[in-house]
């Protein structure tokens, strides 16, 4: 399996191309913008985009869909039931997908948006806007932030620390690096520890 990252100037987002070693059906994650460089990369590797995974429906992750479906005929998987009136296969939390031989698990982590999913394949984790290097996704309020942190802690931080994080924006990372240097996660974990210490059952 090969993973290619493509940087889009449309809101500075990352699009990821996953395909087999010697060409064939491939997966595109978050087509924020389809440009000639991405098309060349797909064609030079003799890929056919058979599947598109959407981490969430914000334009910087989906705006290229219109162009993409004019060139290829992919199945689109998303947490949102509709995307530009295109047919969508709805995702559910924990769902395992066999995408032309590539095994992918979808994990729902709402907070940045209600339809946010991360995708796990092999030792790679495609986090969209749930988790970036050094920060968590933006949220509209404290409840959404709490929901996002709860999801990250229960579904991402419990994975092997050596998982490679491929975020929707910014640089690559690993779970270990985020545990050590991501201040939002450090503060959240510290506050959990504080709650644990001050819990009445411990004090009594």
């Amino acid at each position: 399996m090969k993973i290619f990252s493509h940087f889009s100037l449309n809101d500075f987002s990352n699009t990821y191309l996953i395909g087999p070693e010697n060409g064939g059906d491939a997966i595109l994650i978050d087509p924020g913008h389809i440009d000639i460089n991405l098309i060349n990369r797909i064609e030079q590797n003799r890929y056919n985009i058979a599947h598109v995974l959407i981490t969430h429906r914000h334009p910087s992750h989906t705006a290229g869909l219109g162009t993409l479906v004019k060139i290829y005929h992919p199945l689109i998987y998303a947490g949102s039931p509709t995307l530009f009136d295109l047919p969508v296969i709805p995702l559910k939390d924990g769902l395992f997908l066999d995408l032309s031989g590539i095994q992918v698990q979808a994990l729902q982590i709402p907070g940045h948006s209600i339809d946010s999913f991360v995708f796990k394949t092999g030792n790679a984790l495609f986090t969209g806007d749930v988790l970036h290097a050094g920060r968590i996704g933006s949220t509209n309020g404290v409840l959404e932030k709490a929901l996002l942190l709860k999801g990250i802690k229960s579904k991402i931080l419990t994975l092997d620390e050596r998982f490679v994080i491929f975020p929707g924006h910014g640089t690559l990372s690993t779970i270990k690096i985020e545990k050590l240097f991501n201040h939002a996660l450090i503060e959240a974990t510290a506050s959990d520890d504080l709650d644990q210490i001050s819990h009445p059952s411990i004090l009594t």
Partner: protein, 193 residues
């Protein structure tokens, strides 16, 4: 794709070195493994999916090399020259770099997080989308480099020069900085606390 084949030695949690069944520590002949790896890195061919962790590289010339999706986590590099190299989507996390050169590099989507850098140079380089989170850098020079969208958050920077750099969207949040120079750089476009 980064291969994660565990070392076959019972109880070892490290990964096996490229083309072997064990990590370097549990290899039958670590010197031979290092000789093969050093020889490969010294040529200018593309290296993809190379994996060797916890190794020591000293007094080596790896200039003009091309690395893609390689993993050198927790390695020690002393007086190693990576000048004029292309390093894409590779991992050098939690390494020690002592007197190393990365001048005129094209490094993208690479991870150097958690590493210690002592008297290293990264001048005239493309270092875009590179993860320097939590590095401890002393007397290092990043001058005249493009650090677009790179991330130095939580880093400890002492006597580090970012002279005439592109710092658009470069992340310096939560950094400890002593004698750090941003002269002639667009630091107002970088992210600070």
């Amino acid at each position: 794709m980064f291969r994660l084949i565990p070392c076959s030695h019972v109880g070892c949690k490290k990964y096996a070195v490229e083309d072997y069944y064990t990590c370097l520590e549990h290899s039958k002949d670590p010197e031979k493994v290092m000789f093969i790896i050093n020889k490969a890195l010294s040529d200018t061919h593309n290296h993809r999916d190379m994996l060797i962790t916890d190794a020591l590289f000293s007094e080596k010339d790896f200039s003009h090399t091309k690395l893609s999706m390689c993993n050198f986590a927790r390695c020690t590099f002393r007086n190693v020259d990576f000048s004029h190299s292309k390093i894409h989507s590779s991992f050098f996390d939690f390494c020690l770099f002592d007197h190393c050169k990365f001048d005129d590099n094209d490094a993208r989507h690479t991870v150097v997080a958690g590493s210690t850098l002592i008297e290293c140079t990264f001048t005239d380089s493309l270092l875009i989308h590179t993860n320097f989170m939590g590095i401890d850098a002393r007397n290092c020079d990043f001058s005249t480099s493009d650090l677009y969208y790179s991330n130095f958050s939580s880093a400890h920077l002492v006597d580090v020069r970012f002279v005439d750099c592109n710092l658009k969207n470069t992340d310096f949040r939560f950094t400890d900085r002593e004698q750090v120079s941003f002269k002639y750089s667009n630091f107002e476009e970088a992210l600070f606390n």
